[in-house]
């Protein structure tokens, strides 16, 4: 049984103490937003990107891990681990997965590198990485860890609503006519992260109804291990909306804490910087 090291990227939003404890390698990401490229990584926040987002309309966006950073991580871990497990955001939402896979080719025969699609993003990805890291710490073999992660995948749910439609239009999730009239009508689509994609569900017109939909969604689970509130970096500076969501969640799920997390640049690029939603882990 060999030593297993885990790689993910900054969008997993892992707490620094967890990263240190489990020797997790956290890759930076490059965010191409319009004509500009922003590097976001450990010790390098996304503030500049968010300033651009605050300035105007959505722009074409692409997220990737820098090839050099992946290669460097592989080279380093190659020496200290027998197995490298790479868990990244859904391949539908970023190019990181493809980059990590092609970079692994060069290490064929020298080191076992397993690249897994989390089929999720943000906190959902983070939950998977955390579970993998704990299992590795306990000394479980790679196969078991991969099985564990695959088993967890269908039990992680994320639902959001957004009130800006231009990011959905940029991402090809709404037509331009829909965006125009939808914006006039203040339409707020609900979006589910499922099978690695962001899928539009129903739409509502008022914030209250959107919040109620989120609470109803959480209320429908028979058992729940964790619920997180995820919000965009530019949402709701006075916290009023988040407070209302907490109140509604307390009704469907009393006596619980709902950690509030600002979601990562990847979700900001897909949902826009002002979405609000929940991540639910049922437990297995």
């Amino acid at each position: 049984m060999g030593r297993i090291r885990i790689i993910t990227d900054i969008t997993a939003q892992l707490p620094p103490e967890l990263v240190a404890q489990h020797h997790i390698t956290v890759l930076p990401i490059e965010v191409r937003f319009g004509d500009e490229v922003f590097l976001v990584g450990p010790g390098r926040g996304p503030e500049l990107l968010y300033e651009r987002m605050a300035d105007g309309l959505a722009k074409p966006a692409q997220i990737n891990v820098p090839v050099s950073a992946v290669q460097e991580a592989y080279s380093k871990l190659n020496r200290e681990a027998d197995d490298i497990l790479v868990i990244l955001s859904s391949g539908h939402l970023s190019k990181s997965l493809a980059t990590a896979r092609s970079a692994a080719q060069a290490f064929l025969g020298r080191c076992r590198i397993t690249v897994m699609d989390s089929m999720s993003a943000s906190k959902g990805l983070g939950l998977l990485v955390e579970a993998a890291a704990r299992a590795a710490q306990e000394g479980q073999p790679l196969d078991e860890i991969v099985r564990l992660i695959r088993g967890m995948l269908p039990h992680i749910y994320m639902l959001f609503f957004v009130d800006r439609l231009d990011y959905l239009e940029q991402g090809g999730r709404l037509g331009s006519a829909q965006t125009l009239l939808g914006t006039m009508l203040r339409i707020k689509p609900l979006l589910l992260v499922e099978d690695g994609e962001i899928i539009p569900l129903e739409k509502v017109r008022t914030q209250l109804m959107a919040l109620e939909k989120l609470a109803d969604f959480v209320g429908e689970f028979a058992s729940i291990q964790d619920v997180y509130i995820l919000h965009g970096p530019l949402l709701d500076h006075d916290g009023e909306l988040i407070g209302e969501l907490e109140d509604l969640l307390n009704v469907v799920l009393p006596n619980r804490q709902f950690p509030v997390i600002e979601y990562d640049p990847l979700l900001a690029c897909h949902l826009g910087p002002a979405g609000l939603g929940v991540a639910v882990y049922e437990g297995i």
Binding site: G175, A177, Q178, L180, L181, G182, M184, L185, R186, I187, L192, E194, I199, P200, L201, E202, K203, V204, R205, T206, Q207, L208, M209
Partner: protein, 560 residues
Amino acid sequence: MTDERTRSKEALDISPRENPDAPILLCDGRGLKRLIRFGLAWLERHQEAINALNVYPVPDGDTGTNMLLTMQSAYQEIHDSPEEEVGVIAQKVAHGALMGARGNSGVILSQIFRGFARSLEKVQAFDTVQFAAALREAATTAYKGVIKPVEGTILTVARELAEASVTAAASSQDLRYVLEHVVHAAQESVARTPTLLPVLAEAGVVDAGGQGLLVILEGMLRYAKGEPVSIDSELAAAVDLHALHPEGEEGYGYDIQFIVHGEGLQVEEIRETIASMGDCALVVGDSRAVKVHVHSPEPGTPINYGTSLGSLSRVIVENMQEQYQDFILSKAQRPTVPAEPLSGIGTVVVAPGPGLTKVFESLGASAVVSGGQTMNPSTESILNAIESIASDEVIVLPNNKNIVLAAQQAQTLSAKRVEVVRTVTVPQGISALLSLNYQADLATNARVMTEAAKVVETVEITQAIRSVQIDGVSVEEGEFIGLVNGKLRVRGDSPNQTTISALRETDAKAYEIITVYYGESISPEEAEQLADQIEKQFPEQEVEVVDGGQPHYYYILSVE
């Protein structure tokens, strides 16, 4: 009717008879055809009078017009048919009425014909007893067609005249005598409708649908008594035009319809076979009779197949070029590319006005049927929209209370799985369509959409088309009136001022968004002025202004 004059070639010439009082013992297919024609002509003459019986003083789906269009569609099915069997003519009438049914009264009228036809199946010519039995079946079928039958409407009239016909038929073999009693009973029944339905009494009118049925029967009686009715030349021209089939052009194929009669017919099997022969296959029926409707470049194939199963009736082969032109002219239905291909569920919505059509399209409606107040689309145009979209599961949003029944008729006629979500205003329809969840199944969506329709309040601003006192509000003809959730609540001197008063009648202050859809007679500037006024009155609420383009209604507002 097999007295002397029915044998004359032109039915509308009431030729002098040797004995005008001789009893009429039987009525065959040709006789029924003329009865229908006289009923139609008499109805046309009274169309406006029936329209004026609207309970609400709003430009609404006019009952007289709706019943007339339904009757016209019924008559077009038979006007050039030489058929002598009355059962077959009755079937054709029922089919024509069904497909052309507009508005609730038209749909109920089509049900009346359906029951009438069912009772006369295989009958060569009916006598008084068979006539009475058919009227009874007509009333029963009409009641069944409505989920919650309301007394004091056309239903009551249909039932009471049927009861009278049974009594009359027991004492006479003369159809004319029975028809006289039927008309008399219908008159009394119509006169009683305000005592059964308080809203009629309040408005000081009798039930318009009941009156329409009475007028049709009166026209028939006039024929039986040899009294002329003037046939509007325009109508005659329209009917004749329809009879002219233009020379076929290749490329559009044929529209083939027939009914197979036989024993132990396998509907599923027939449906599959027919579907393989062409497009837009519609196969409905039971083990004894199956209605087939298919578009095919080769009309012989489905017809030959039908002949192999049993005897055919009501064979109609039409060149679709003609229908295509009708379609282009009417633009009744605008199938669009589904904006959200993720869903297997299609949506058909009814929308008045180009702006509202755009709104519904942008929200992902698969097909928009134009229609609404005063322009209720027919069952057939809703059915066509259902059939035109790519999904096998369809949700229909009628968005008007007078279109709900036609939508439900289209539902029963379609081979697809169809749910009608009973939205009765445009804002309800928008709210329902938004809540369509592409991940959920048909039944769940229908339930969720019904719920979503309830959370929005609707304000409609129009002009009173007559003076009336209703819902405790007294209005003069020409005054501006505001309806809140379909009830007349306020009146005013200008559309904008009336809107503000109507909004005060809602719970607007408790909601987030007020949306103004302005009609075709309102300029964008006027709409913006209204929005400013609303914002002053309701500073907490967001106000949005959208070009609705609807006729008759200055403004439609949603509060949610």
